[in-house]
């Protein structure tokens, strides 16, 4: 059988050559997709496996340099890590890709990045699966006909050159973070003077850019430094969830809020918002306002601040008195304060910019000298483009990964307009709605198959290298544009020379360059501290404020559209890991919904799951505490086709609701009409009860209490510890005794750990119906509870707690397994012998934490009985199975599974240390959840090692264990949450104490 998979070395020998020499590959792939699963396996899986082994026996990578391990040769069974960059049109994250036997199987954050320090997000973790997506475009297509790349390229070049001179050639792209790609487009513009580049962002930040155009003279987005802030005031900016670059912000935020014996200070986070967002749920103080009032609130804040600073105030907007304390907090923090807003309204952003100026935040918490190079789109230009299209001024539209048919602010108009454009080309690595309206569909490579680079903050560079030969007949975007330009060079060479010239500034092909390039490629990240000095000019807000004050208050329901943590802008809709990821706030997965406040539900007599129709869009209702009474919040990014065995459209696209005749899209709108529909829909949720019922599960305290007594809020720990009587001695753990700590103060609930765990441990995806039946399989979940003082809805707060197997030394589950399938290792790990498990579920019943998961059906195809597989999402297809971690058993039907403390990682590192003859260093072993966490909330280590981090945490007065009064002796510990507030909901928690 022919080799299908190639080394990247061969990749360099030229696409033409490959195409000529490997036509059978193409046929194979085509056949494979038509053939039955079994045949597919025969053709594909087997060849993949053998080829992977063969490929890895050669020296596969010359130019792509493994980062952490640089062995003489890549050996089967040993993973290599390659530095790369994740970018999906929203945020960019430097990553490491773990490759085993030729297959990328895991994405980790690149810890060399000084911005993320190895943090990731749920989307970054899950993006791996899109590589193995069968619905990706596989061949160049013209009007439904497959054709060769050569044919397609020459046709397109021909058509482009034939275009009238007055017709624009429009490249429609999401924000381009790749400087090299941008230079390619610049080249393109030189070749085609009528070339025009239109940036279409899936979520617009045009407002900020426009505002800063006025503030600093260039429409930039400044670089925000939450880590430098002592007081953070956010108006609807979900900066921990989706706003700008949440992964970096989460890292900064966690840093600013880390409390320890050394730094007894945490940033105060005040949040104004209309619906319960992830960021809002983490805030110390949270104010619920209507979205239409946000501008007025900000203006009032400005006035209040100006007054307190003794500056002239502008037009009053009426909320000044409410904002006194907030302003006072800001004034106290002065230049260590940061105010942000999620609004896309220029006026609002101008007020925010002015507030930050008042505070002196520029140069401290808001960096205008170091701009953020994300979201470069401008709404006005997008509108202009549409008008041009309608007016027939556009001769060619080349869309690159921008999916305008879905993301365009008025997509229907766009689709209509595009019909008359002479040449339409859609370059895409994923299945897109746009493809059906475009003449040419060219399959681009997944980012894990592509060479690229990124500069997402000025001076912060990151390289992207392919870690696998393209699975389908795809080419990376650089290559496609290079081909159109008629350049003979390959994308790799182009990027290399681009970096040489513009970034590394070295003379070509010198040794200095070679080693610098090698180092950069190995590190993946590069940064220069050059910055552009920008002057912040003083603004006169009078005009802005009078506009704001003039706005009529909206007296009725308003809809707020937000991006969800999991699906985001919808680009990664076709990703079962993300779809099954419960929202950190609502704990719902697989759908979007209208979230309404309990009071509105009461008023309207809506129950959870009742379908309502808002201006033509029907969705089920979800009752969300913390929403404004008159606000209905709903997630963007839905209404897209999910492929798999049962393709279906997931949720509804609510963008049409936002389509008002405004230049700049606003993510809230007033509701014209709400109708109840006599139907209900069962939302899939993983948590149905939201109160801690007075149990001391999440323990919290306030900063002032903490400063008085570091054990505050955790007093019962000492008492329980005193009463820990036992009828038998604890076992000795002579070697290691593994432990994990979770700092509840750092955890924001971003869900990166949940996906990281699922990817690492081959956790099955079960689908919506199974989640509805509470059959979800996540080994790690983030419990979310609401706390509220009685009769005080404004005191509503959210607490979160990641819960995985607690690895109890006195585990109630181990005792009762009749066949000894679960027991305790000599290193304190509660272990499962999957092949011994007979599935009585007794252990799960006895687990007080309910962290064990049962394989209710044959989710994985590992069962011996044929034809009984339950795989709603196609995760067991032969291609998707390539993502499985070979170090972790795939569990069969009828078997219990659970968190293993990533035993495979522990063993690997222990073995390495043993081979090196050195003691295991604390921090060497990182569990998947720990490694993925952007907030560094998780610590893992050996509690027998006195100097380890976990040993230190064992002595931390904030330390406690979940349900510790049961004397289960968990190896997982928690550190209390410390809120920077005066009042605490803690009193509500019934403490169980003994004398």
């Amino acid at each position: 059988m022919k080799k299908y998979w190639k080394s990247i070395e061969e990749y360099e020998t030229g696409i033409k050559q490959i195409n000529d020499a490997h036509i059978p590959d193409k046929i194979q792939a085509k056949e494979a997709l038509k053939a039955s699963r079994r045949d597919f396996l025969k053709y594909f899986g087997f060849s993949v496996a053998s080829a992977a082994v063969l490929a890895s026996c050669e020296r596969p990578v010359k130019k792509a340099i493994p980062l952490l391990i640089q062995p003489e040769e890549v050996r089967p069974g040993i993973a290599s890590y390659y530095a790369s960059t994740f970018y999906n049109g929203c945020e960019a994250v430097p990553i490491l890709v773990k490759v085993r036997d030729g297959r990328p199987i895991k994405i980790e954050g690149n810890d060399l990045s000084r911005l993320t320090k190895g943090g990731t997000s749920a989307q970054v973790q899950a993006s791996l699966l899109n590589l193995y997506d069968e619905s990706r475009p596989k061949e160049p297509v013209y009007q439904g006909q497959e054709l060769s790349w050569e044919q397609a390229n020459s046709d397109i070049i021909q058509k482009l050159s034939k275009l009238d001179d007055d017709k624009q050639i429009v490249f429609l792209t999401p924000t381009i973070v790749s400087p090299s790609f941008q230079s390619l487009l610049d080249n393109f513009k030189q070749k085609y003077p009528n070339f025009k580049q239109v940036t279409l962002d899936s979520y617009s930040y045009s407002g900020i850019r426009e505002a800063y155009g006025k503030v600093v003279g260039k429409s930039i987005i400044p670089f925000y430094r939450f880590d430098k802030a002592e007081v953070i005031v956010s108006f609807g900016a979900d900066f921990l969830g989706t706003w700008l670059m949440p992964t970096i912000f989460t890292h900064q935020y966690a840093k600013a809020r880390k409390i320890s014996n050394e730094t007894k200070k945490i940033a105060k986070h005040i949040h104004f918002e209309s619906y319960m967002s992830l960021t809002g749920s983490n805030a110390d103080e949270r104010y619920i306002i209507k979205p239409s009032e946000e501008a007025k609130y900000l203006l009032s804040l400005y006035n209040e601040l100006a007054q307190q600073f003794g500056h002239p105030i502008t037009v009053k907007s009426g909320f000044e008195s409410e904002l006194k304390t907030v302003a006072h907090n800001l004034v106290k923090a002065k230049n260590k304060a940061l105010v942000v807003s999620g609004s896309n309204n220029v006026d609002v952003q101008l007020v925010v910019a002015s507030i930050n100026q008042l505070l002196g935040a520029y140069g401290n918490t808001v960096m205008v000298d170091k701009e953020t190079l994300l979201y470069k789109g401008k709404d006005a230009l997008v509108h202009k483009f549409l008008d041009d299209c309608i007016e027939g001024k556009v001769g060619a539209v080349i869309s690159i990964e921008s999916n305008p048919a879905y993301h365009f602010p008025s997509s229907e108009k766009f689709i209509k307009a595009i019909n008359d454009v002479e040449l339409t080309v859609n370059v895409s690595s994923q299945k897109e709605e746009t493809s059906q309206f475009f003449q040419y569909v060219l399959p681009s490579s997944h980012f894990l198959e592509s060479w690229s680079d990124a500069e997402f903050i000025a001076g912060e560079y990151s390289l992207a290298q392919p870690v696998i030969r393209a699975i389908y007949n795809t080419r990376d975007k650089h290559q496609i544009v290079l081909d159109w330009l008629g350049e003979r060079s390959k994308s790799y060479d182009f990027i290399k020379s681009f970096w040489n010239k513009h970034i590394l500034n070295k003379t070509a092909e010198t040794n200095a360059f070679r080693s610098a390039w090698k180092q950069t490629l190995s590190d993946g990240v590069f940064h220069s501290d050059q910055s552009t000095k920008r002057k912040v000019s003083k603004l006169n807000l009078d005009e802005v404020s009078s506009r704001i004050v003039k706005q009529e208050p909206v007296d009725g329901l308003e809809v707020v559209a937000y991006q969800s943590i999991s699906v985001g802008d919808g680009k990664m809709c076709n990703n079962p890991w993300l779809q099954e990821l419960p929202d950190p706030v609502s704990r719902i997965c697989w759908d979007n919904y209208y979230a309404i406040s309990p009071s509105l539900a009461k008023e309207k007599k809506w129950k959870q799951g009742d379908i309502i129709n808002i201006d033509g869009i029907e969705l089920p209702v979800f009752i969300q505490p913390g929403n404004h009474h008159q606000v209905i919040s709903v997630a963007l990014g839905y209404g897209r086709m999910m492929d798999g065995p049962n393709p279906e459209i997931i949720g509804k696209n609510i963008q049409p609701l936002l389509e008002r005749d405004l230049v700049s899209i606003q993510y809230f709108t007033d509701v014209k009409e709400v109708k109840s529909v006599a139907a209900t829909y069962e939302l899939a949720t993983t948590q149905t009860h939201h109160s801690m019922e007075g149990r001391a599960l999440v323990r919290e305290t306030t900063l002032s209490e903490y400063l008085k007594n570091p054990a505050s809020g955790n007093e019962m720990h000492a008492e329980i510890e005193k009463l820990h009587t036992t009828l038998y001695k604890e076992h000795d753990y002579k070697g290691h005794h593994w432990a994990m700590f979770i700092d509840l103060n750092s955890c924001t609930g971003c869900n990166a750990c949940v996906v990281a765990c699922s990817v690492e441990n081959n956790v099955p995806v079960v689908g919506r119906d199974e989640v509805r039946r509470s059959h979800e399989m996540h080994w790690l979940r983030i419990d979310r509870y609401y706390t509220q003082l009685p009769d005080d809805p404004s005191s509503l707060r959210v607490v979160r707690q990641p819960v995985m197997c607690q690895h109890c030394d006195n585990a109630p589950c181990e005792n009762v397994c009749p066949v000894a399938a679960t027991n305790h290792s000599s290193e304190g790990i509660n272990q499962m012998a999957y092949n011994r498990c007979i599935g009585t579920r007794y252990c799960n019943n006895n687990c007080p934490y309910k962290v064990r998961r049962f394989n209710w059906y044959d989710y994985t195809g590992a069962d011996a009985i044929p034809f009984n597989r339950v795989d709603a999402t196609g995760m067991t297809s032969d291609l998707k199975r390539l993502v499985l971690n070979p170090d972790v058993t795939v569990r069969a039907k009828g078997v219990i599974e659970k968190c293993s403390f990533c035993i495979q990682r522990i063993q690997e590192k222990k073995l390495e240390a043993k081979k090196d003859g050195k003691p295991l260093v604390d921090g060497t072993i990182l569990t998947a959840c720990q490694q993925g966490c952007p907030a560094k909330a998780i610590t893992f280590g050996d509690m027998n090692d006195e100097n380890s981090e976990v040993s230190k945490m064992m002595k931390d007065p904030r330390r406690y264990h979940l349900l510790e009064e049961l004397h289960t002796l968990p190896s997982v510990g928690y550190l209390t949450k410390v809120r920077n507030t005066e009042q605490s909901n803690n009193k509500n928690t019934q403490h169980k104490t003994h004398s």
Partner: protein, 390 residues
């Protein structure tokens, strides 16, 4: 068969002697070892409960046999009857603990209670405690008084209606007892370890007192036989009593292990605290208790032959009686006194001797009041004509 028991002067003297010995021992004990107030009150509770338990166990024995229409026990019914009619004596002995409640019950110190004990306040407070105590003791005394009264009446009156009345009062007694036996055990014993709780505790305590009552019935029976009474009681009756002692000792062990195993297994501190106190501070007694209450009667009464030998039964019964004294000791002392201050010394032995002999004195007096065999009992004849399967 119609022999009336005569409580001879000689016997009274013997009993008086025992009481004197008891008093001497107690006083010596007080001088020899330092007896803390807690220890004093704990011993008053122990002995009071012991006597209440013996009377109650015997009363239950009578009532349950009447209600179950059992025949064989008619022959010995007057012994448990006499014991059961002394609930008032037990009451007098146990009521004084109300004055020592502060020494026995941690929860009675209302001024510094922790959260959990505050939660228990509606139940665990002295006035309610005292009220319940009076209800229990009053109820038992009254109901059994009625049973005894009817039983004595039927000696004169052969009317079968009297037997039906007996059944009625027995029924009421059992219903009342079913609830109060548990609640009184919670009140008087379990609440010593105020935080601790065990749902089985009431039944466990009940079985303990029942077995103990059976042992003491046997002891009285054999003593009476030695004195030349109760000659109508044959091997078959002894065999049955032996089976009772054997069977209920096993049942006691079953409940003991049920409670211990479940608490040992789950190992939750709020429950294990109770056993940790006992296993650590009273280790020897803890195991001795099981051996004496279970292993000893189990092997001693396993075979048919031993059950039918009066002497063998008598000594086994004494061992079992001591075993249940230890059981009570273990229930009370660790919580009320603690392992450092408590001990089994002359004081304990002397005091118990006083209580037991006083009880014996009154029981003998009661026995002397009526015929040793209930006359006109409908199962009177049946009781003497049956045989155990070999």
């Amino acid at each position: 068969m119609d022999k009336q028991f005569v409580f001879s002067k000689k016997m009274m003297m013997v009993i008086l002697l025992f009481i004197i010995v008891g008093v001497l021992l107690t006083i010596t004990g007080l001088f020899v070892s330092h007896v803390e107030a807690n220890r004093l009150w704990a011993n008053i509770l122990l002995n009071g409960f012991l006597i209440v338990g013996l009377s109650l166990g015997a009363a239950f024995f009578v009532a349950v046999h009447i209600i179950a229409e059992s025949g064989w026990q008619t022959s010995i019914q007057r012994i448990p009857e006499a014991m059961g009619s002394k609930i008032w004596l037990g009451a007098i002995m146990i009521i004084p603990i109300l004055f020592g409640a502060h020494h026995l019950y941690h929860w009675s110190h209302t001024e510094h209670l922790d959260h959990v004990l505050q939660l228990k306040q509606p139940y665990l407070n002295l006035s309610f405690f005292a009220a319940r105590m009076l209800i229990y003791l009053g109820g038992w005394t009254f109901l059994f008084y009625k049973i005894r009264q009817v039983s004595l009446m039927s000696d004169q009156n052969p009317d079968i209606a009297l037997f039906n009345r007996l059944r009625l009062f027995s029924g009421i007694f059992i219903v009342f007892f079913a609830i109060t036996s548990s609640t009184s055990a919670w009140d008087w014993l379990m609440s010593i370890d105020a935080h601790w709780f065990s749902t089985l505790y009431g039944w466990y305590t009940f079985i303990g007192m029942f077995v103990n009552a059976i042992a003491v019935i046997i002891i009285f029976l054999v003593i009476l036989q030695k004195l030349g009474y109760m000659s109508h009681v044959n091997d078959e009756h002894l065999h049955d009593l032996g089976k009772y002692l054997f069977g209920f000792s096993i049942f006691w062990a079953y409940l003991w292990i049920s409670q211990y195993l479940l608490i040992w297994y789950s190992n939750i501190p709020e429950e294990t605290a109770y056993y940790v106190d006992r296993v650590q501070g009273f280790e020897t007694l803890f195991y001795v208790n099981v051996v004496v209450c279970f292993v000893a009667p189990f092997f001693a009464l396993m075979s048919r032959g031993t059950k039918r030998k009066a002497n063998w039964l008598f000594y086994t019964a004494i061992v079992v009686f001591i075993g249940h004294w230890v059981d009570l000791y273990l229930a009370i002392m660790p919580g009320a006194v603690g392992d450092e201050l408590s001990a089994i010394g002359l004081f304990e032995i002397g005091l118990s001797l006083i209580y037991v002999t006083v009880f014996a004195f009154f029981v003998f007096k009661a026995l002397a009041k009526a015929n040793l065999v209930p006359q006109n009992h409908p199962f009177f004849k049946e009781s003497f004509d049956y045989e155990n399967i070999k």
